[in-house]
Symmetry: D2
Subunit: 153 residues, 4 copies
């Protein structure tokens, strides 16, 4: 059992989400953030003639790393849960992992670090997409537009 | 002239955005991130009987701080610009500053730090909303759905 | 094999550190950052009468979360390695995990999330302490004081 | 008056530091974090033949950006102040701004963004060095070794 799962199990109030699924998304986001940070740096250490083709990949790695880390933190907080904020940040992370996954996939056959990083991005994108429908406020029929009641108190 | 403006002026490739407006948004995001971090901590130092009413505000502060910092970093990168990713992250920041601004505004008459932080959130929300229409890919008629050509090369 | 290990194995230049040990430190830092973020939030959701005794723990959690995340990113970069910077940041992380581990340990018998988080902090502190001696520039006899040659090029 | 100063003035408990000096350090760290993020990206958009000479600078920029942001957050929290943790993180930031300032200074005559970023790093390094002696626990004669009493409660 990962620490993310243990911490969710120890949360002292309600969480209106499947804790097992949530833990696996949080773990995927941590992993993806680190892989993207490492991939940006590995790109920088490639041979000089490779560098110009990798600048976009490096930029996407940096965005994805930071967005995944932030999204993991948002999903780790349950006090005063606001579905609108969480949904918006998860949608940004889905886009970031897709963009970065696409960039890394373009270089996957030349650079092993891009291949591994693309895989981390795809897994995280899929995990986020499975979580997204659960994040809607109960009974909502349209896009999330109202804060749900604060859970932690 | 702020450092953000100087750095934009020194960027060696094109940026398809008004650099003055962009600099002011980046500066607002930095300021808001710091104000939210400080407001969460100031809430923690309030008297014991105030704390239970401030837990939601602290949580919103923490989310908003992290989301503003990440959004400021995304807007500070122009190499390989992807409108979809930028738009999604800016939308998350608009929601985060709105949510946190609302939370802080509820406590503005009791806690000066919440009043100041709410003001920082409102200013940042407004700056982001003015920037948002500029972020769409040129000629787009619907929601952003395709990567625009990489700018930096 | 974790993604951190796979990314280290795919790094295209030399790393003057044991890659297995480094991967386990990076993984511990990611885990600890998430546990601390979650513990701060779990503290906020405790009953009103518990909150005043937890404010220091929340603050230490927030510092430790951010310092661990930053240290993990620094240790994930190997291009242009500078031993002085890495050592200084690792020392800050050792202090942060010790401070936060102590704070959480004080509440471990009352709050399961503090018990779990204290354990994550102790494991990370120990992992960092084992790594620290390896980070010194080769042949250094005093405190790290010179940049080592850039590795990535 | 900056928001950092306003937030310090609104802090509801004691701070054993000059609030004006502290606000200027926090503002410098925010500014430096953004400048370093922007400089890394500007380097990536330089012409292909320049890139190989800039990889170390990019790496130092990324470390410095993240370390400055984290240090600014630590200095924005006063509840349960721990001098040892704060000193260790400030020392890491002094090293990061020195390392990154040196890297950028090497390219200052070729790249305006490196010149501006080097200046931001130097100003921040100097501000941190002036703050450092104030962070020692009162009456301490050696290196900081004990937690000072919690201030916020």
């Amino acid at each position: 059992m990962t620490y993310a799962q243990q911490m969710l199990d120890a949360y002292p109030a309600e969480i209106n989400l499947d804790r097992g699924r949530l833990a696996s998304v949080i773990d995927a986001l941590s992993t993806c953030a680190q892989a993207c940070t490492a991939c940006a740096d590995a790109c920088l250490s490639e041979r000089a003639e490779e560098l110009p083709s990798l600048t976009r990949c490096i930029r996407d790695n940096l965005d994805c790393a930071e967005i995944c880390a932030t999204t993991g933190a948002v999903l780790s907080r349950h006090t005063g849960y606001d579905a609108r904020l969480t949904v918006a940040q998860v949608e940004a992370a889905i886009q970031a992992t897709r963009t970065c996954g696409d960039s890394c996939a373009e270089h996957a056959d030349r650079h092993e670090h891009c291949r591994v990083c693309a895989q981390a991005c795809r897994e995280t994108e899929n995990a986020l997409k499975q979580l997204l429908p659960e994040l809607q406020p109960a009974g909502a029929t349209g896009p999330p537009s109202k804060s749900v009641p604060q859970q932690g108190r």
